[in-house]
Symmetry: C3
Subunit: 206 residues, 3 copies
């Protein structure tokens, strides 16, 4: 036991920093959508750098897992957790790069709201992850909040798209914005996938 726990704790530290990277990226994305401007490519580039950092963190965890003795079940979950955290950042990056590639200079309220929900969901993840080993009830509360946020994102996305169909006369603009809303909502979906993995880990260890 003495041998196992400290090693596991290092993995959890690594998750906490990965969740911190996510939260930082979500904050930059929110700025990009709230105050669109000529600095979009630079900001998207900063998100891309955070994505590479998260990729490296994931890869390090896998290499360390392959060399560390802990139980097989834990390995699986640790792998799932860092892969799913990475997915959130992939989608955050996907949204940022679309803002640049689609030359988005306009501010649209549903996109800002969706980015805000994403930021809050990543905050919940950041707070949930360090508690894996000890505070199971609190983790489940964070997971419930993330699931609630995902429903909120879904609602904003659907209504935002309905509004696009009401007011947008240019089909190309509609397609671009519809996709941006959907990618943002997809990022929140991925945060919910992380919550599902956390729930599974808690349930296994209970």
């Amino acid at each position: 036991m003495f041998n196992l726990l400290p090693k596991e704790e290092k993995f959890f530290e690594s998750f906490a920093s990965q969740a911190g990277v996510l939260h930082e990226a979500a904050g930059i994305l929110l700025e990009m959508l709230d105050k669109p401007g000529p600095d979009a490519p630079e900001k998207a580039n900063n998100i891309k750098k955070l994505e590479h950092r998260s990729d490296n963190m994931t890869h390090d965890v896998i290499v360390r897992l392959n060399r560390t003795f802990i139980t097989p079940l834990d390995r699986e979950d640790i792998h799932a957790l860092c892969s799913r955290l990475d997915d959130v950042l992939d989608l955050t990056d996907a949204a940022a790069s679309r803002i640049v590639l689609y030359k988005i200079f306009e501010r649209k309220a549903p996109a800002v709201e969706l980015a805000r929900v994403l930021q809050r969901a990543t905050k919940e993840l950041q707070e949930a992850v360090p508690n894996i080993l000890n505070q199971r009830e609190r983790i489940l509360e964070h997971c419930q909040e993330i699931i609630r946020l995902e429903h909120e994102a879904d609602h904003i996305c659907r209504n935002g798209i309905a509004q696009l169909f009401e007011i947008e006369r240019d089909p190309f603009q509609l397609i671009k914005w519809k996709e941006i809303y959907e990618v943002l909502e997809g990022a929140v979906d991925k945060a919910e996938d992380v919550a599902n993995v956390l729930e599974t880990i808690v349930l296994k260890s209970s």
Copy 2:
């Protein structure tokens, strides 16, 4: 053993009712698409209520799992099963809300056919779930039928979209209907994901 089984059976009962809720929701969706009319918002609202009921069922199972002693492996699968069942209802609700938000008043055959396939897939789930503990061969048969239905849905969806490109002159209408077909097909996809979880459970226990 005497201690474990009755508790597990309660979980399976709970899945059977959740599958029943799914099947009911799929039936309402089929009506919405087969006989479009001014009662769409009310029907979508009924589906939304069923979705909340399913959400609560999922949450209850997680809370109970966290307090019940059964083997770790079972917990994981039970969690996966109710999450995946919930996903089917999420997509059913997504289709219903789009019918309302996109102001769909027209009947299109591929949408009706897709809703019918979804209804049949949820029927298969409803019949498969109560047999988890005893009739493994029959579960695998239900799973095979669901996989077949998913292929059928895929075929209807692809051809329906090709037809839209042939006949639809308004890009906005094409985008709306294409998405409705895709969400309906996605709901059947999610039913196939449930079938995959059921197969995994059967294989583990064999």
Copy 3:
């Protein structure tokens, strides 16, 4: 031990042939996009046949698993592996059928590049799979390469779509091509999902 290994090896052989079928299908898809022509329906049909072969392989594995004694953990992974391999072929088939249904007669560089990346990813899978039991480090290298290819596909897809928005004046054409790029990218995504399962298997057995 003597009893277990030979049976497991048969499963791995079966995966290797399934990966071979994938690679063959990806090659046909690449031809369809690189040299579009009146033989598209015939080639799509050949991919469909390969998909049925892969489906049957998956079903056989499930039936055999249900009758073979090996450890529960292995069963799960074997099931996951053949399901995920099958998903790659599903998306390959989805791309091929869209080329036919959308009457695509034009050659577009991003589609060709995406199909080439898919072909390379399936080659990596084909080389990785037979090494499951003995060469763990090499499998992880193949997985890393597939993850790199997925990033490449993502990049090609995003830029290809941005280019469509720049040059395409017909919204229907834009929608068709955007979807073809996305389905091709989705196929590479599914190859990454296989890599994730392989990583999990390696990590469990280490």
